[in-house]
């Protein structure tokens, strides 16, 4: 019975499996939620959605699939018949009542009002206020002011006037939108890797038992080093120019990364990488770090993340002297390639939404240089980037 709903969820990329569907059926059978669309919505949500990022998608699909089936809360039937009748009686003269009869009777009038309401509802899709202003309704002709007919506010049942799923409160948890510090942290955690290095100071129970057995029962203690996070990262942040808009996101990224890695060293650059980068953006002309020296200092086990919008004039990438900062003997492309060659595990994060990438020449160029390792700065993009960083080469 709910299979089309299930299919639509899958289409909307909510990862539901048959197992979850069966769970929902089982719960329905056990009457966890019966005869109440709102309870059913909550139940379906708790059974089918397993990640808050998908809640918003679920809400959308639910709204679409069950539109119109939420009879009790539906505006059309929520018009209290008697109440309207009473109103009409109060306002209509006998003469007008006869007129109504002539027009096809009360029932037909109600029918047309219902239709009108339905139209109004679909025009104001998702809106919170409906009715109230049926100024052109046939009722106007009969002498009372429809302004007073505030249908939606009747009774406790209609507190759900804007249906729960139409409110879409989980919109900001969807992972295709941009992200906050916490989200970045979560994505970066994926990079955490543990290895045993350093002084042996943890008791290796398995090893001890084994070697004690070998030792004919005499205790032979074995120790292993503690597990540490070993991910080492070089972070290159683009500052200035077209990045102004994205500086906030980058700052967040930076503050989020600090605590996650064993070594995290950050550098700044402007638009594209040239022969040197700098550690402190205020003293960029004084304290520069040549790329060559950087490659010598940090070995291949470091991973690199470049954050920049890659939006510049193509000359800044492919021509000598293209840098907006100063004269460069070799084009930016050469330096970028050197960097990517020195660090096989590298990604470029781009705060510009992915759909605009095709429109900018320089983005396409850098993508080519980075061998498609450019990812958007969204949670989903970060995820893919981190997965890429875990791979070798």
């Amino acid at each position: 019975m709910f299979f089309s709903f299930f299919a639509e969820l899958r289409e909307a990329k909510v990862p539901v499996s048959l197992r979850e569907y069966l769970t929902l059926m089982e719960a329905m059978q056990k009457r966890v939620a019966a005869f109440d669309i709102e309870d059913f919505y909550f139940l379906a949500r708790t059974a089918l959605v397993k990640d808050e990022r998908h809640l918003d998608r679920f809400d959308r699909v639910f709204g679409h699939c069950f539109k119109g089936s939420e009879t009790p809360a539906d505006p059309q039937t929520a018009i209290p018949d008697q109440w309207l009748r009473k109103l009409a009686e109060r306002f209509l003269t006998d003469e007008e009542k006869q007129l109504i009869e002539a027009l096809g009777g009360w029932e037909q009038l109600m029918e047309s009002l219902r239709q009108r309401l339905a139209e109004q509802r679909s025009r104001h899709q998702g809106g919170g206020k409906w009715i109230g202003t049926a100024g052109t309704s046939p009722f106007g002709a009969y002498g009372y002011n429809p302004e007073g007919v505030r249908v939606g506010q009747q009774g406790g049942r209609n507190r759900s006037a804007v249906k729960v799923w139409d409110r879409r409160e989980f919109r900001n948890l969807d992972d295709t939108v941009e992200l906050g510090t916490r989200n970045i942290k979560l994505a970066l955690r994926r990079l955490r890797q543990f290895a045993r290095e350093g002084a042996a100071e943890e008791l290796d129970l398995g090893g001890t038992v084994k070697s004690t057995a070998h030792n004919a029962g005499w205790l032979d203690l074995k120790l292993v080093p503690e597990r540490h996070n070993v991910v080492k990262l070089l972070l290159f942040l683009d500052v200035g120019g077209s990045m102004e808009d994205h500086v906030r996101v980058c700052e967040e990224l930076f503050s989020a990364t600090r605590s996650e890695f064993k070594h995290l060293i950050h550098f700044y650059f402007h638009n594209c990488i040239y022969e040197s980068v700098w550690r402190d953006s205020r003293r960029r002309h004084v304290e520069q770090v040549p790329i060559i020296e950087l490659i010598r200092t940090y070995d291949r086990s470091y991973r690199i993340v470049l954050v920049g919008d890659a939006s510049m004039s193509p000359y800044e990438i492919e021509k000598e002297g293209g840098s907006v900062e100063r004269w460069n003997d070799e084009p930016g492309e050469v330096w970028l390639r050197r960097l990517f060659e020195a660090y096989p595990r590298a990604v470029w994060l781009n705060p510009v939404p992915e759909k605009y990438w095709a429109g900018t020449t320089s983005i396409a160029m850098i993508r080519r240089i980075a061998e498609n390792r450019m990812f958007p700065l969204t949670l989903d993009g970060l995820d893919r980037a981190m997965r890429r960083l875990k791979r070798r080469g």
């Binding site: 909550f42 397993k50 955690r189």
Partner: protein
């Protein structure tokens, strides 16, 4: 059938009730997520109280292994006993220490089992518990014995989202995301915790609280538990609603802000906002 409808100290919204009741009825684990401080851990305590069951809590740390929840074989003390010639050493069962899951399985009446902050553990942790949570049984290799749950416990699992949980694990759970309470719900929560509080004070406090949450760029938004702490402080310090109401731009930072803002940078942010506000005033 058992039904959970909140308790006198815990306000459960309708969606949360449905989720909990689904978990109880179908005897599946319920995974609870949400902003820190929205009452995830408390939920298990209140469920246990609400339906009058025992509560067994298993706090997960980064070093916790799934096996520790089932049982541990205390090899070291057996080794020592062996070397000392203790009689106990002949029976390996003496050295099997039951874990929290075992405890929950053996309970005479189905308890509420809280697995707190499951995301703190290793990534493989949830996978190691799949079968145990699904079939509610496990096998003790050392004694060749199968431990089966007498009654399936009501399992509540909380997560702070530090790690993503494996799909296979998620498929076996119900899921609920505790949304940050709206003003109306918050009012009910405060009523439950501080009955008889002056209406004005609550009103002013809530206004300030939601304003604070709205401030752009906050690192850690204050949550329910911080609000409750703050109100407690306001009561102790006997701060009147009038003080809260004076929107003196020079004092944009709420009184006793230490309970709400837990981050130095956030306090600075507020000071800066106050400063800007003042300058705007004098400028106009």
């Amino acid at each position: 059938m058992l039904r959970f409808e909140g308790t006198d100290t815990y306000v459960a919204t309708q969606d949360l009730q449905v989720a909990v009741n689904a978990a109880i009825a179908l005897e599946r684990p319920l995974l609870v997520k949400g902003e820190p401080g929205t009452g995830k851990t408390i939920l298990a305590h209140e469920i246990a109280r609400g339906i009058a069951k025992d509560l067994i809590t298993w706090h997960i740390k980064s070093t916790t292994k799934a096996q520790q929840g089932l049982y541990e074989y205390d090899a070291v003390s057996r080794l020592r006993d062996g070397q000392l010639g203790d009689e106990r050493v002949h029976d390996i069962a003496n050295y099997i220490v039951p874990g929290k899951l075992w405890e929950a399985f053996e309970a005479p009446e189905a308890p509420v089992l809280l697995i707190d902050e499951i995301d703190k553990a290793d990534i493989e942790f949830p996978n190691d518990l799949l079968l145990e949570l699904d079939r509610m049984e496990f096998y003790v290799y050392e004694t060749r014995r199968t431990i089966r749950a007498r009654h399936r416990p009501i399992v509540i699992i909380t997560s702070n989202n530090e790690k993503e949980l494996p799909d296979a694990f998620l498929r076996r759970c119900f899921f609920h995301y505790i949304r940050f309470p709206d003003r109306e719900t918050m009012q009910r929560i405060i009523d439950v915790h501080f009955p008889g509080l002056k209406h004005e004070l609550v009103h002013e406090a809530l206004t300030i609280f939601y304003d604070t949450r709205q401030a752009p760029g906050l690192k850690k938004k204050p949550s329910t538990s911080e609000l409750l702490d703050w109100i407690k402080l306001l009561l102790v310090e006997d701060i009147s609603p009038e003080v809260l109401r004076t929107r003196d731009p020079a004092k944009l930072i709420p009184p006793l802000h230490g309970a709400l803002l837990k981050n130095e940078e956030d306090v600075h942010l507020f000071e800066r906002l106050a400063f800007l506000h003042r300058r705007e005033r004098s400028g106009s």
